[in-house]
Amino acid sequence: MIAELFVNALISGLLLGGFYAAISIGLSISFGLLDTVNIAHPTFLVLGAFLAYILNSEAGMDPLLAGVLMTPLFFLLGLFIYSVYYQFFEKTSAEALRGLAFFFGILFITEVVMIMAFGVDHRMVSAPYANGSLGGSILGMELSVPYRMLSVFVVASIMTLGLHLFFSRTFFGRASRAVHQDMLALSLMGVDPIRVKRIAFAIALATCGVGGALMIIMIPIEPAVGRLYIGNVFAIVVLGGLGSISGTLIAAVLLGVAESVVSTFLGPSWSPAVSFGILLGVLALKPSGMFGVGDTR
């Protein structure tokens, strides 16, 4: 009986981890690789979720398809936000505190716009995989996995592993990882470091299209729900180690499993305490995070 609960918690923890990876990878790129503390990232995920909601409820579109279709929009938004951020903050070396304030401002503006446009009610999407679950009995244990979480996990895995490959194998990916290490050296290679940062930031924001769709499939959405996730996503990125995308993916699964097991056995209210307990423990032993490469700046 205990074993059955545990295995079920483990499986749904793994699936939850996939979802966490999808909503954290954008921040892992913008914060971990580019040093832009985009605290508004979870709010843009909520914006993505609402756009998926509109396309789903008004046009009957599949929320995952809606997420993919919105990706270019978020990419363009990312180009625009980074250009503004660069022009007014980074260029004048005012990124540390005022840059944070800039992203805080964007967070509140986006949130207020969403409240005015959509109200404060919780919204959800309808899709064939939103209900029901895959069940079965293995080794005498009754296991059950909701289709909702399964589909989120599959899409999240494709997106995050794809991005991981992109950033580790392509020329542009290598340049994005090099840009915070030495911008001047990069320009000596004939690469425009600001262009690299702008595009990488736009890719980070583009994950809010699919990420938002996954979010509204996972849970009902209201405009301020992004705040609930600020802690989680920052914890995952820091736990995995700044600058390491693979670290972020592993940390996401770790926290997903921990949260799921803890809420099964101790109750959901304990799960944030355990998540941040893990974070504190790891940082005490290894200040740069699990797969962090240390600070070279």
């Binding site: 340049a175 030495d182 050296a185 320009s187 290679m189």
Partner: protein
């Protein structure tokens, strides 16, 4: 035919002028030493050629066959595309990337991408140590290996003109000697034109075809050729201790 002609260059940082009326001339396949102690403007001059600093007066012409391109009006990126690579002061590697990733980033220039693997093989032949360490993080290597990587990364751009800023800094004397010899090989084996800033006079003049001494941002001495550089009384008395 690749060369560089610097004419009456004036440059500095903000209101502080560092170079006053500097003119130098580097001819095809030459290795030219730009000599001077710290703070006399060697790095500033190289940074001007690479486009990192915009001079206030004067011109820098890259002579490429029949063409004369004024580099002072180009961006760093355009200068790299024109065929000028720089090994910066302090190596400036990407410490968290592997040796191979550092080299690949050096081959961004369009002309360099097509021949990337060939150039990388050449770099590994030139510096066999780098081949052994190809998947190691650049920042974890010794100073000498990092300097090799910095030179190799610049070579990955398949430059016509190579600028090298103080390759001897922070290296043990034996490594300085090896590094200088490797740099000397570049013009003979690769047909590269090299402008090297150095404060290690003894080592630099071994490989230089000619040299300039820069003092307080002005060219204090310009040698006609290698012999002229080695036999010069001023160099002997001030810089070689005898």
């Amino acid at each position: 035919m690749v060369g560089i002609v610097v004419e009456n260059l004036v440059a500095g940082y903000g209101n502080v002028s560092v170079l006053h009326d500097v003119s130098i001339d580097v001819a095809d396949k030459q290795t030219v030493a730009l000599l001077g102690t710290n703070g006399n403007g060697k790095s500033t001059l190289l940074s001007c050629i690479a486009g990192l600093i915009k001079p206030t007066e004067g011109h820098i012409f890259l002579v490429d066959g029949e063409e004369r391109i004024d580099l002072t009006s180009l961006s760093p990126k355009e200068i790299v595309e024109a065929g000028v690579s720089m090994v910066p002061e302090g190596r400036r590697l990407f410490p968290l990337l592997t040796v191979e990733e550092n080299l690949v980033l050096g081959a961004y220039r369009l002309e360099a991408r097509a021949v990337r693997n060939i150039t990388m093989d050449y770099c590994f032949t030139l510096f066999p140590r780098l081949a052994e360490r190809r998947s190691q993080q650049a920042g974890s290597m010794s100073g000498g290996e990092q300097q090799m990587l910095s030179v190799a990364r610049a070579l990955m751009g398949v430059p016509k003109l190579l600028l090298i800023d103080e390759p001897s800094v922070g290296l043990a004397p034996i490594l300085v000697q090896q590094m200088i010899e490797k740099i000397g090989e570049l013009s003979t084996s690769k047909g590269l034109t090299v402008l090297m800033a150095e404060q290690n006079f003894n080592q630099a003049i071994r490989i230089a075809d000619k040299g300039y001494i820069i003092v307080h941002g002005e060219i204090a001495f310009a040698s006609k050729d290698a012999v002229d550089l080695r036999e010069n009384e001023m160099i002997k008395s001030y810089y070689l201790g005898g």
